[in-house]
Symmetry: C2
Subunit: 907 residues, 2 copies
């Protein structure tokens, strides 16, 4: 009976595995095999397959039949290749043991070096290297590493032994250094290191109850088992659970002959990227450290040299390395991140992997566009396709906001919700008026508020960014900031604001008005002082890449824009229409708000109409501006959506004012009577309009059905503007969107009203424009009855923010901080459904609505305008269910173009 193959050899120019065998050999093992086959100088070794690990688990720690024999045979092969034997007192083989799963997984066992050392073999090592200090240092490190990595276990596991943790051994080393009065490891001589070895062995015996395993075969078996076991430690399990990785995959074990970079000046170790991972420039990039092991590079005790200097010092080796690097890049068709060691003048390649994860977005995009044009990724279209596929949305995102310079190391003073991306630097101001005046005086400012209201909006535009103490990612501040492309950190409850004193505090730190801070809306961090940032930029390579992406994608990319300036930015970024123009932000502008309040507080229809008549020209001019910018493209304008009390003062503040005024007025004999009366009136109005759950209250189309005058004004403004710009020669395509429809009759009734106004306006203007009327699908019932709704709709636009809220029964404002993030931490939800569309629940509704809507209206235009429209995973879903377009904020348009191409190419 032929046995299953579990062990794969690599060495002497040939390997049994290959890069394709990632599932069996893990990422590391597959690459070692591939490099060996490519003829690269890889130290030989063998890989035990993931299947062996899986068997080990399924059978409670028993090896499968034949594994022992296969290991034996491959070890013999390795010994033969190296001309050394494990445990041989004359010529001992030393090996490294590493885990390597098919997918990269933190928490698994990493590396044991120098395995094979014991009191016998070290003598041979000294003899061979003639370097006693090197040998004892290697032995010391091995005992420490082996104890820590192989035997100490993890807290919570039954085999947890804190006494074997690395730091326990480092303390022994420290004792020796103290005795000798030295501070650096390198100052300790061979004798001292030998003493550390002895102390370590004693400590081990005490902590473990047995002698340190001297038999290299036992060492190897323990290390191999430790790799197997590490697949199942709590951290690895938790990680797999969160990432949805199957538990039965298992990890591979890589056993490889040691090479030493610390065997003198003709030895060394380094890392090299095939191209510059910061800029993308096509030059070999990296560091080299002479007479050192990898650990030393990491510890930073000594300064490594740039790899370009290596060229001058050791030109032959440099050219050899460069040759290998080019070979690997051409072979893998990808930026490579290579680890290498030079042992006594001989170059060994220890590892290669994609360099993309650690490169900047800018570099990745340049590299892949260059590679495509160099023909490295395939001929013509194939190359462009590969480049598009390899660039990730995050790479594009990095380029589109100012970023904190990643090379700067600095601690934030506080952390809030990352509400609108990008970094911003400025002097702190605490009122919108101060923001305006300071900005006019030429200062960059950050507006800091407990939370924001429509009254504060005029302070957003002049500010570089906004920081609030209260509210989450859909708070007023967050929405307005994202709409404007202003960085925003919201709900930063570590800060405590003293508005009267014009300062805020974080613990002991006091930040006064005028002090400079930096906020990072991408991460939610708040820093003291000015932190250097990198500006956003649409590079030539990005432009090129996105034009390639456009050729592949099927899904349209539109934008959410409320103002002509946003529309302009989005159009420049490639937006093909406006999918959501919110009209309420137009109401919130400073000069208009008093008229809006008048309209709301009107006690008769006539009074309301009078206020609306004054608002009409503002609205009309807003639309004229947008229509001009979007000449030739569709513009979806949503009728007023929020509850009207959002345009009035905040209830609590009013209540406090009135209470104070009542007392003062009483005590001072009525001197505040007028003011009190006025405030009391407003309070009464606000109280009359308050709602228990405003999200589910009188808003959206419900407003227009109760007060038709408002939407009639809006329809009039839209159609009038369209008629006027058409006369100018603009190719105008207005689409009017009715929000919050739950029942087809709501849309039908509203549509009748809009059509009546449109007819009248076009008669007045003596010109006709084509327009569409459609609806947001943001209420589960609308999705469930989409067949009926579609009968009255030219288009659907999924408002997945609200649809997620209602489908989950979750108010985002309340939930995000209070429990939603805890849900994600606990693994109850794999993702925040407000960031990535929940396919099982919300997605099911979207799918039903698309299918049923098109059943009764085959011409139905269907898009999405929730924040998910800019999220790559959600965009893929939109493509899969056959939406016509996604609409996202201007700065996400490039990302959406790329993600839409990915969705099509991955089909």
């Amino acid at each position: 009976m032929s046995q299953q193959k579990y062990v794969y050899f690599f060495g002497e120019g040939k390997a049994e595995g290959s890069a394709e065998m990632r599932a069996e050999l893990g990422g590391k093992g597959a690459n070692l095999a591939e490099m060996t086959n490519l003829g690269l100088p890889v130290p030989p070794g063998y890989t035990i397959s993931t299947q062996a690990c899986a068997y080990y688990y399924q059978h409670n720690g028993i090896y499968p039949d034949g594994l022992d024999e296969q290991i034996e045979a491959n070890l013999a092969k390795l010994e033969k290749a190296m001309g050394k034997k494990l445990g041989d007192p004359e010529n001992p083989l030393l090996v490294s043991v590493r885990s390597g799963a098919p997918v990269s997984m933190p928490g698994m066992m990493d590396t044991v070096l120098n395995l094979g050392l014991n009191d016998e073999t070290i003598k041979a090592l000294i003899k061979q290297t003639k370097d006693e200090r090197f040998a004892y240092d290697a032995y010391r490190r091995f005992i420490m590493m082996f104890s820590d990595v192989v035997l100490s276990g993890e807290e919570g596991e039954p085999n947890y032994r804190p006494g074997l943790k690395r730091h326990k051994f480092e303390e022994l080393f420290d004792e020796v250094k103290e005795e000798r009065g030295v501070r650096q490891d390198t100052e300790v001589d061979a004798k001292g290191l030998k003493e550390v070895v002895e102390k370590s062995k004693e400590h081990f015996k005490e902590a473990y109850g047995k002698e340190f395993p001297a038999d290299p075969k036992e060492q190897l078996r323990l290390a191999t088992n430790a790799v197997f076991e590490s697949w199942n430690n709590p951290r690895a399990n938790a990680f797999r659970k969160i990432k949805g990785i199957r538990d039965d995959l298992g990890t591979a074990v890589n056993v490889q002959a040691m090479v030493f970079g610390n065997m003198g000046e003709d030895s060394g170790t380094g890392v090299a990227f095939t191209r510059d991972p910061m800029t993308g420039e096509n030059v070999l990039y990296g560091n080299y450290l002479g007479n050192a092991q990898g650990e030393d590079v990491v510890s930073g005790a000594r300064q490594a040299m740039p790899i370009s200097e290596m060229r001058e010092i050791m030109p032959t080796l440099y050219e050899e390395l460069k040759g290998h690097a080019e070979r690997l890049e051409t072979h893998y068709k990808d930026l490579q991140d290579i680890e290498f060691t030079v042992e006594k003048g001989k170059l060994f390649i220890l590892q290669t992997r994609s360099g993309v994860p650690t490169a900047t977005g800018r570099a990745v995009i340049k590299i892949l566009v260059d590679m495509a044009e160099e023909g490295l990724l395939g001929e013509g279209e194939e190359g462009r396709k590969q480049a598009v596929l390899k660039v990730q949305p995050d790479h594009v995102d990095q380029l589109l906001h100012p970023q904190i310079d990643p090379t700067v190391e600095v601690e934030p003073i506080a952390k809030g919700v990352n509400a609108a991306p990008g970094a911003a630097v400025g002097a702190v101001v605490f009122t919108p008026d101060d923001a305006v005046s300071e900005a006019q005086a030429g200062k960059d400012v950050i507006l800091v508020r407990p939370e924001t209201t429509p009254d504060d909006v005029h302070g957003f535009a002049p500010a570089q960014g906004v920081l609030t103490q209260i509210g989450g990612a859909t708070s007023h501040a967050a929405l307005v900031a994202r709409g404007m492309g202003k960085p925003c950190v919201a709900g930063c409850d570590q800060i405590s604001i003293d508005l009267d004193g014009k300062r805020f505090t974080v613990g002991d730190i006091v930040v006064n008005e005028g002090d400079t801070i930096t906020i990072d809306g991408t991460t939610g961090d708040v820093y003291l002082g000015e932190i250097p940032t990198i500006p956003p930029e649409m590079t030539d390579e990005l432009r090129k890449l996105l034009s390639w992406a456009d050729d592949f994608r099927w899904l349209g990319v539109w934008t959410n824009a409320d103002y002509p300036r946003d529309a302009k930015v989005a159009r420049d970024f490639g937006a093909e229409g406006i999918g959501l123009c919110r009209t309420e932000h137009m109401f919130m502008e400073r000069e208009r708000l008093p008229i809006v309040q008048e309209m709301i507080l009107a006690s008769t229809v006539e009074e309301r109409q009078a206020a609306l008549d004054r608002l009409l020209p503002f609205q009309r001019d807003d639309f004229i501006g947008i229509f001009r910018v979007m000449d030739g493209l569709p513009v979806i304008i949503r009728l007023i959506d929020p509850p009207l009390h959002e345009f009035l003062p905040v209830h609590e503040e009013l209540l406090e004012d009135v209470t104070k005024l009542r007392i003062a007025n009483h005590q001072l004999g009525g001197v505040f009577a007028d003011e009190l009366e006025q405030k009391e009136e407003m309070l009464e109005a606000v109280e009359g309009m308050r709602e228990m759950n405003p999200m589910l209250g009188l808003r959206g189309c419900r407003l227009g059905l109760i007060m038709p005058e408002i939407i009639e004004m809006q329809a009039r403004a839209i159609i009038t503007a369209a008629c006027m710009v058409k006369k100018e020669g603009v190719d105008v395509h207005p689409e009017i969107m009715v929000p919050l429809v739950g029942h087809a009759n709501e849309l039908k009734t509203t549509k009748d009203k809009i059509e009546a106004v449109a007819k009248q306006v076009m008669e007045e203007q003596k010109i006709t424009v084509d327009y569409k009327i459609g609806t947001m699908i943001e209420i589960p019932r609308a999705a469930l009855t989409a067949d009926e709704v579609a009968e009255a709709a030219d288009f659907f636009s999924f408002g997945t923010n609200d649809l997620t809220q209602t489908t989950f029964g979750i108010s985002r404002d309340d939930a995000e901080a209070k429990f939603l993030m805890r849900y994600v931490e606990q693994g109850i939800l794999t993702e925040n459904p407000f960031q990535t569309l929940d396919r099982d629940g919300v997605g099911k509704l979207v799918e039903m609505a698309v299918e049923n809507g098109r059943k009764t209206n085959s011409q139905l235009e269907v898009g999405i305008c929730g924040e998910h429209g800019g999220d790559p995973s959600s965009i893929e879903f939109c493509h899969q269910v056959g939406l016509n377009y996604v609409s996202c904020s201007p700065f996400r348009v490039p990302i959406a173009r790329l993600a839409a191409a990915h969705a099509k190419l991955k089909e």
Copy 2:
């Protein structure tokens, strides 16, 4: 070519139609035909079919071919049968013209009497009757009725002629009376009436521009067309739209020979029920008025006699009538409401229809149970089935609450939301403490509050009913009151409460503490003083009827009950389990609330645990009480659901207090420092827990996932109680329900926690109990992913209150008053979806969830515990989609038993 038949004759003992031809002949016409065929003395006539009306509409007022000829022929037949001719100056035929649609419809043309009169024919009438006064009175009435009914039109219609309205003619009559110095119609002699006729004709000419139509054939054609037209008047159209009646049905026209009850002392008119419609007693019931027309009975100018007196005065006629009545009841197998006229000693039956719509619930139930037992409704089971089908849920509902005595006529002083059914009488109190003390003093009280909070709950139990100024049908007051079976009128914003002055006002009316009022929670009406009520009662007949219903139904009927006393009531009413026992009401009881608040405000887990430990015995004892009452039946206990801030003081009140205290404390040098600090602490806590949309916030299972201690305490209390009662010998079936699940993982995680506690408790108690764990389905996402949720659930219970809120995106509290009722009025929604389950939207989710849930868990027990569980239409839906049971409030259990039987029988 044979023509379609449009006209159906009835008379001389034979009719062309029958009761089955309701669709063609309308309800009235079909019954006239049926009675004729039964040999009853029905004045002859003919019915023009609804098809003729439909044709008339489809062809813009043109008659179908042959209709004119068929009318002509039937009129001739009628003339022959009566030995009179229409318009004959010697022996004129007079007829009535009435509409009659297949379904009863208000707003359609009703009746024109005495058609055929003109200046010629009246002479013959005088001659024949020898009663000039009678003849002119008939002529006067005819001109008025014809003008009003046939020619005046309706406001908004093109043919609207206000000058022809009835009251214009009555003014003319009034003028004549004034001239003669008399007040009663009967005081005007023949000459006076003749003058009224002349004046009426003049007025007609002026208002119409033409002479009053003298030609009886023209009169008949105009009246026939008017009936056709009335099918399409605005009121009839609106009614059909609301009720979903097809527009193309059309109405029939009944033309029938006149008989006169006002031709002397041997004439008269009356109405008779075949049994007593108030009590259901099997005796002929009704009224008779001698020498009168139907109109006179209605106007109430003269007092009619009870029909029992007729027996003594005219025994032969009475017996004849009784015979006809029995004949009709036996024939129709239903209580009959009969109109009859005696003309010169001869009895005519003019109409018969079901008497059920105007009978009391108690009577209907008794009558149908009696009829079934008499064998009238069919043999054995068939008879019981018919009785069950004919009793409507509303009949049962009437019996289960005290009702305002329907015979009393009194105007309410205000109207609010009908929040919990039944009438209550009591003295007004304004605080819960006053309610307690007044009740202890033996007084019936009504608790009147602006709105209620948990602090007020101890005032509910001692009160007869509750009246609030603010809040709708799901306000705190409404929910608590319904749960307790207390009548409640909520959100009565016409009243203005002065708590300090202990009074409320409605306009000019002032109601002081101690004044007696009556509230009707069934209608929302509020009355001054004590209005007589009828007490609720489970009559013997109802018991019998429901036991029959139980034999037919398939759907289980459970109840929502939080307390043993409610459970007892429900079990007596036939509940087969508890479908929803809410635990939060238990938290709100006075002695427990401080401990609950301590638990909520705890700053450490230990403090919280300590408070929970003190709550545990209370909860355990609550459950023990319920388990004992429900011995042998399942009890579903829902874990805590509302957001915790509902157990804390109201934010606004605290804010006001703190603001006042701050000022006072400052001005008085800190004397309130302690109180202020305490209140400020509470304010801070409340502010920390406030939510924008509490309905969608931290509540339900989310609470338990963030603070597991709470649900662990509840699980411990439930399982401990179950173990303890099992030891007593109680057959206990606890089912633990997890609320507000949106994702299967929420349920799975919670289930793990409950199971761990249950295991521990059963070990401690050394006994095991079977229990189930399941979930509410009240979030759309749970319904959409029911297959996954069902994997972890033993049962589903649809919480259709919240499911309706989230599916519609509507907060009931905010919506009901502000726009939902307007939606129903405007026809945007046909029904309030919180009362009757929305089948298209919410129902679709329910259906999906049942189907998908049973796919992964075939044993899944599925029920509904929202308010819809007590609504007959919704119960029918629950039956159709295959739920196992419905659960409703105790007082709706009998209704649900009946409705469940209906659902099965109507399949």
